[in-house]
Symmetry: D2
Subunit: 336 residues, 4 copies
């Protein structure tokens, strides 16, 4: 059960509502985000909804049978849009494109990428400065100084930044230099990180775990929402299966399922989803026609020389062709 | 190595070529299909290709590094098209649609389905008369009499038939009444069945195994081809993963990968691929934009009353909307 | 529901019972095996059991909530033992060992293997004469002549034979020369083959599918049982997972679970279960201590020269050491 | 390549060796643990080993072809043992038992558990005070105060503590109250946490990821080792597969494979590995006979009332029977 509270509900009113929920057999969590205030009740007792409905401070009451609550579409049918400012919005029905290298490598690389994005009117750049790597001996990224350099250039270019945060202590370091925090596939169930991002005050995109279920992804989003942040984006990036012909198996089914179960925007990552440069385009287009609010993919001026993930990275020519086709597919989708 | 033989190559010439291949260290299999004759050589010895190239009876020689040979695109870059007659072709660049119920149930059901297909200009009807069922106590289909009844109506309607064959002894029974034999996901590695279908003289669509790899699907096709039948269609129908929110996980990656590795047409089955009626449409459109030559899906005049698979079956209204959108997506794809 | 019929129940009595079951809302299948006669009722209606219990011809009535019935332990708590004659029994609490090459290759190979088995008092030899192979160009076995040669030697040595049957037409060919028919992992859901083995009159060992569930394995056994053959053995042989360090993942959990759910004997195949010669022994011992009624594994006088599966095949020295340890572990288990 | 340094190697000598390694084309990382000092070289250039071997400060040089280095058995064949003090050692050939509840709940519960362990001479108690939970609304543990209470009792009882650490900031809080830090399955690739545990000065047990590969587990251990801590234990706890009859699939194969590839001790968690109380025992015994250095399992005085994981938790009677059998299996194994 979710009780939406009135904007002007007093502390006494909220306490009284919470007490009543407890009396009805519900374990209650209070949630306040930038957008609203809620009391989430966990339980399954039957009761007369009028016992809560007439109380002062209550704006609305929703029964939500899903185990996750705030991210469920059962109480919020209209889709959530994330406004990054300067006219950049994710989840408003248009197609959002996010592109850039796996790793931020140098000023020249950032400049070249930004120029490519501006030419093609792409408003969000992806890139990693803290890189989670299986081997401790691999390149781990330029760190916070790399992010600052990137941010300076991106701001001038009017391009927004999405970048991965790997641990709680990085949130404060990064918060002034990113527009979206990305939670990587290895951290989807790093619950402390999710909790802390609930207080971060910036949008968060959560990647599905390497072998995470759809339900686990929704639970992870519930962590951030219930900790105070409802600016959330879900990302399908491929799951681990027995198939070895591709790096991961992009779960195309997840796109309509996530959009049915949640009001949050859904983005697909075809680069990790297949892991083969030649086939990133068809997989990206598939995700769009299946309903994705956006795609996030890897591009680099010279993929053969990229510090990481070169085998799944498009060059700028390939990227431009993908952008053009992606917009045509999105335009067709909007006529359906 | 594949040696294509000249149409008029004599028995002596073929023997001489095969002997020379053996002398070069290759294990040789002779293959004759309706379209051509081949000698397939398995081995990896280096040799001077002129030792074979100048022999009488040789039309062409191809080195194929894949472990499967005849189905590989490494020797046949142009795509194979399957001509079912009466203007119905699969794999010629157009979108092929195959629709119908999971099980053939009655004359009325067949008539209603055929009427729906004709109205929407769909030329191939799917349906099962021999049903593989996990439980021995479940409905196992109408059998050969059901197929004959269906065939009579379909012929009048000018609609082609695709239906599953489960064992060798059914091939002769069915051959006059089907246009395409379907090999089901549980029989993808039923090698005796594949061998026998090599002699069947009708096109064969092979579904990927329930947890079959892409490579295993290609090997299964190689069985049929090497036994004498090159009228083959590959079908991605979803794989078994840990995810429980959908029946299977349609492997969208498999579509571009299969089309890269093989010259055979690739069809997707979104009904089994996701198993959720409401989401069959977006998954079907995704497969098309990713390059599928066709889609095969389940439709029934009254899915709630279908003898099997009702939860993933479209009614005729949903089917008509899917057809319309599918053709628009295919038309856009052709402009790329 | 399973109704056990009296040995001397008349045709009229059985018909009357079946009619009464139908009247109670149960779809009824009549099953007669070498051991007994049953009426299996599929349905879930509540009824007064006395309506059936007092009828002539009824020996016993069991409610079985599982979807599979005859193989369930819910009606038959005592464990089934399979008697192969000459004192060779599987499932009587002792440890059964079955060993031999992947493929039967030659008279010499058979003789050497039989000598090894006799020396170590192993009474069942495994080996393939019809080999299911992913590639049509790979060695497919010596066929029925190989089986006859093997049978002649084995009979003299007092050793029983287990060998894979791949299709219905092979059953009659093989039946006089095998003691146990093996259904391979690619044929676990070849329902026509299972049906036909129900009439074969010889014990059948069913391997779990390459990515088959435990429940599917039990359903496959139900096919054979309901078609008339209750001499059944279940085999855990490893499942397909994402892990690449081993050929398959032997599902050790399946052993206690299968023994809880079914009264049939359970055998493990550590050779396929891990696929790495050096580690076959620990996995075999693990399966035994976890409750397996037997193990089936690959051994060859010279694994490096085996026609197939050499990388997972023990030589005779390794095999002898495994046998000795296996018996010690089984002896300890019996004290628990 | 791993260069072991002499205890008394001077700073100048180490720098000279590192410079020479760089000159030979190796990217070099310096590692100092409580046990020794190393230079790890990543690269694959061929060179004359005498160019390093005669340098001052070099104790030994090992070529290690694995991608992980310090945890590989290729340079350290003898098995690593972890000494917790007071005669409690993991990895010395004896069987280590670690048991206790999923969550620490109360003083009474801790006291009862410790009494049970003492009675059965089990020297290590497991329990969670920081609980990673999929849902943000679930019980998240007693926190650091719970750990202090537990530590006080355990110390008096002479029992060691293993407990999960979820984030970097908890390390300092916990370090005085645990004997082994546990890294949970959701944090196996939380690389910041692994790095920080490299400085923790206490042993670390790393659980395999929910769908982590064996290689990824070894890489995760390499993180901790290369950051300065070689007191490491690997834990197989079941992987995520398509099978739904058990919670996870304990990968019995992983036990011999990990012991072949690494010198670190290997522990199995049968409670999570199967997730079914009745079957924890056979799976535990299987892991032991397959070579596990220890097992860690869940026990509670009243599993039905446990705050979490009750369905896979043994009561004290079941636990005592498991312990007895486990020791008999371990004793038998030692005779092999």
């Amino acid at each position: 059960m979710i009780v939406q509270l009135k904007k002007n509900a007093s502390e006494e009113q909220v306490t009284a509502i919470a007490d009543q929920m407890s009396a009805l057999g519900y374990k209650t969590t209070r949630v306040a985000t930038g957008n609203g205030s809620y009391l989430v009740g966990i339980g399954s007792k039957e009761f007369d909804i009028r016992k809560l409905g007439h109380m002062e401070g209550v704006a609305d009451i929703h029964r939500v049978s899903d185990a996750y609550k705030l991210v469920s579409r059962k109480w919020k049918v209209e889709r959530t849009a994330i406004d990054l400012g300067d006219g950049v919005v994710i989840g408003n029905g248009d197609l959002s494109l996010m592109a850039g290298p796996c790793s931020i490598e140098s000023e020249e690389q950032v400049a070249a990428t930004l120029a490519h994005l501006r030419e093609n009117n792409v408003r969000i750049m992806r890139g990693g400065v803290f890189k989670p790597r299986s081997s401790p001996y691999a390149f781990r990224g330029l760190g916070i100084e790399g992010l600052k350099m990137w941010h300076e250039q991106a701001k001038k270019a009017g391009v927004k930044i999405i970048s991965e945060v790997m641990q709680v202590s990085q949130i404060d370091e990064m918060v002034d230099y990113v527009d979206i925090f990305q939670v990587g596939a290895r951290n989807t169930q790093n619950f402390n990180l999710l909790d802390a991002l609930g207080k971060a005050g910036k949008p968060v995109m959560i990647k599905r775990g390497i072998s995470g279920t759809i339900e686990e992804l929704l639970y992870s989003a519930e962590y951030v929402f219930s900790a105070g942040n409802e600016q959330l984006i879900l990302c399908e990036r491929g799951i681990r299966t027995y198939e070895r012909a591709s790096r991961n198996t992009l779960d195309i089914n997840a796109i309509p399922i996530l959009r049915e179960k949640s009001h949050l925007p859904v983005v697909a990552d075809p680069s990790h989803g297949i892991g083969i440069r030649e086939h990133v385009e068809p997989v990206a287009l598939a995700a769009i026609v299946a309903g994705a609010d956006g795609i996030i993919y890897e591009t680099h001026q010279s993929p053969e020389e990229a510090a990481s993930d070169g085998q799944q990275t498009l060059n700028f020519g390939e990227s431009a062709r993908l952008i053009e086709k992606a917009r045509k597919v999105a335009a067709l989708r909007q006529t359906f």
